[in-house]
């Protein structure tokens, strides 16, 4: 049931990749995504794939996790592939059935789009798998800080995000408990018409809301008791600091982008 859902699918570890500065990791992930979009052919993709595979190996994430993360987009990949396959008509026809024609250009295009999608997801997964929710929001807050000049509530947004992320597992655990308690009283969440099933959610949702509000109240009290008064003048126990490894990672990504640009310039696809 609920236990199979993982949000903020952090895979704890202590590798070099895990220890990169979250700001650097966020920016480098964006750069990696740029690299994917820059590639005009499979040669570039191969480079990106090699890069991601090496990074995954360094972070000791099992391949199973990366593959599992692709499951939610499986259908999108298939639809992308099929649409491109049938609606591209450049090149030589290699297969024809009634009005449907598949060309070699179409096949190439379809594969290109599908691989690109997979690479995009895998690259961003590298970030979410190796960075805890807390340091992710820390990084985001730091990166958004310049926006404060235009009255953008960077601290508040980061704080809300980290509280939300912190409480998702708690609420899921709670939902699981309440669900079990109601099932012990004969509740049935799994069968019946849509209307019946929606109605069956009431005994789950009411207690869940009550407890969410209670928790919010307690949390507000606990934060005030520790003198929380917004982001103004607040210092951090763990200062974010760029290190040599961040530089090394940035150089590696820069090299990757340069290599892809070279491939493009040489016309190697």
């Amino acid at each position: 049931m609920l236990k199979n859902i993982t949000i903020g699918q952090f895979f704890p570890g202590n590798s070099l990749i895990h220890r990169l500065d979250p700001r650097a990791k966020l920016m480098l992930t964006v750069a990696l995504i740029v690299a994917v979009f820059l590639s005009q052919g499979f040669a570039g993709f191969a480079l990106v794939l090699l890069f991601v595979a090496m990074a995954a190996r360094m972070s000791r994430i099992s391949l199973k996790f990366l593959v599992r993360g692709l499951k939610p987009i499986l259908y999108i990949v298939i639809i992308t592939f099929v649409l491109n396959l049938f609606f591209q008509s450049e090149g030589r026809v290699i297969f024809r059935w009634n009005f449907i024609a598949v060309t070699d250009g179409g096949l190439r295009r379809a594969a290109y789009m599908a691989v690109r999608l997979v690479l995009l997801v895998t690259s961003s997964q590298l970030l979410t798998l190796t960075t805890s929710a807390i340091s992710l929001t820390d990084g985001l807050e730091a990166l958004m800080r310049p926006l404060k000049k235009i009255k953008f509530p960077a601290h508040e947004i980061a704080m809300m995000m980290s509280i939300a992320l912190r409480f998702i597992p708690t609420l899921m655990e709670e939902a699981d408990k309440i669900m079990k308690a109601q099932m012990a009283r004969g509740a049935d969440f799994e069968s019946g018409s849509l209307f019946k099933r929606a109605k069956a959610m009431v005994p789950l949702l009411v207690p869940l809301f009550v407890s969410a509000f209670r928790r919010a109240d307690e949390l507000a009290m606990a934060m005030e008791a520790r003198c929380y008064h917004g982001g103004e003048g607040r210092t951090r126990m763990k200062q974010l600091r760029y290190g040599r490894r961040d530089l090394a990672a940035a150089l590696a990504v820069a090299l990757l982008i340069a290599a892809i640009a070279t491939l493009n310039a040489l016309g190697v696809f």
Binding site: K64, A181, R185, G186, P203, P207, V210
Partner: protein
């Protein structure tokens, strides 16, 4: 309804870095009319074990047999098992949701598909069983006091008329008077012919209420015996993060000083009587 558990193992989130083995090769059986206590350190698998009794977790691997019916069997109607085995979770007041006490207690019976008249009878009976006065039955459960909420939640399970009642730390978070009242109520339910299985952190409660104790340690059954025998293993219990009841400690100290008191005394009154008896030389 007799319950048998055979070679039950349970692992949460297998194949992930969060994999936890909560139960390992647990075998035990519970006869009709028993009052069984389950004790063990936090995380020893108590809650996981009792969730199996109610088919909330599929036994895998292992078997759970409730009155001859294999819980894990495919296509087995779970509602039958849940009617037989009533499960009261830890902090059951957090499961209340209806507008009135009466409706909330009736939720279980309605799920069993009983007619309204029968539901009404059972609700009234369950509420009087837990000592909630009739005037409260039209109130919102969220308006009640903590102890009352807990008793209403227990009534919600009793209204299904289970032949076995399983309670997970029923007195956690109650004040001393509320504790005593609730424990008395559980004893009365037991006297009414219901098999009771109770998870508890209080060694004193376990000793004086239960006829038999199951001690879990890191997911395995460490002891399964009457209280007197379990509490003879004081040192081992302490090593498991548990303790022995105050009376047992007292008796042990007195016996070291030359008394000859029996080791099955779990109430201060009984210890007092035994001491007087020995001092006055019968």
């Amino acid at each position: 309804m007799p319950i048998a558990i055979k070679h039950l193992t349970h692992t949460y989130m297998p194949g992930t870095p969060f994999e936890t083995r909560a139960l390992f090769d647990v075998s035990l059986s519970i006869r009709d009319g028993e009052f069984v206590g389950v004790i063990g350190h936090t995380g020893s698998g108590k809650s996981t074990l009792i969730a199996h009794l109610n088919a909330l977790i599929r036994p895998e691997p292992g078997r759970v047999i409730v009155s001859g019916v294999d819980v894990g069997q495919k296509g087995q109607s779970l509602i039958e098992i849940r009617r037989e085995v009533g499960l009261v979770f830890q902090y059951p007041e957090y499961q209340l949701f209806e507008e009135t006490v009466e409706k909330d207690v009736g939720y279980g019976p309605r799920n069993l598909g009983l007619p309204d008249a029968e539901v009404k009878v059972r609700v009234a009976e369950a509420l009087s069983q837990v000592g909630i006065p009739e005037e409260l039955s039209g109130k919102s459960p969220f308006e009640l006091s903590g102890g009352q909420k807990r008793r209403v939640a227990i009534a919600g399970v009793l209204a299904m008329r289970p032949s076995t009642l399983v309670l997970d730390e029923p007195v956690a978070g109650l004040d001393p008077a509320g504790r005593e009242e609730l424990l008395k109520l559980i004893q009365d339910i037991h006297k009414g012919g219901v098999t009771v299985i109770m998870v508890t952190h209080s060694m004193d409660d376990a000793a004086r209420l239960c006829g038999r104790l199951i001690v879990l340690n890191r997911g395995e059954v460490a002891f399964d015996a009457p209280p007197a025998e379990v509490f003879r293993h004081g040192d081992e219990l302490v090593e498991m993060g548990l303790d022995v009841p105050e009376c047992v400690k007292l008796v042990k100290r007195l016996n070291e000083c030359g008394f000859h008191l029996p080791d099955n005394l779990f109430r201060m009154e009984d210890v007092e009587r035994a001491i007087l008896k020995e001092v006055r030389g019968c």
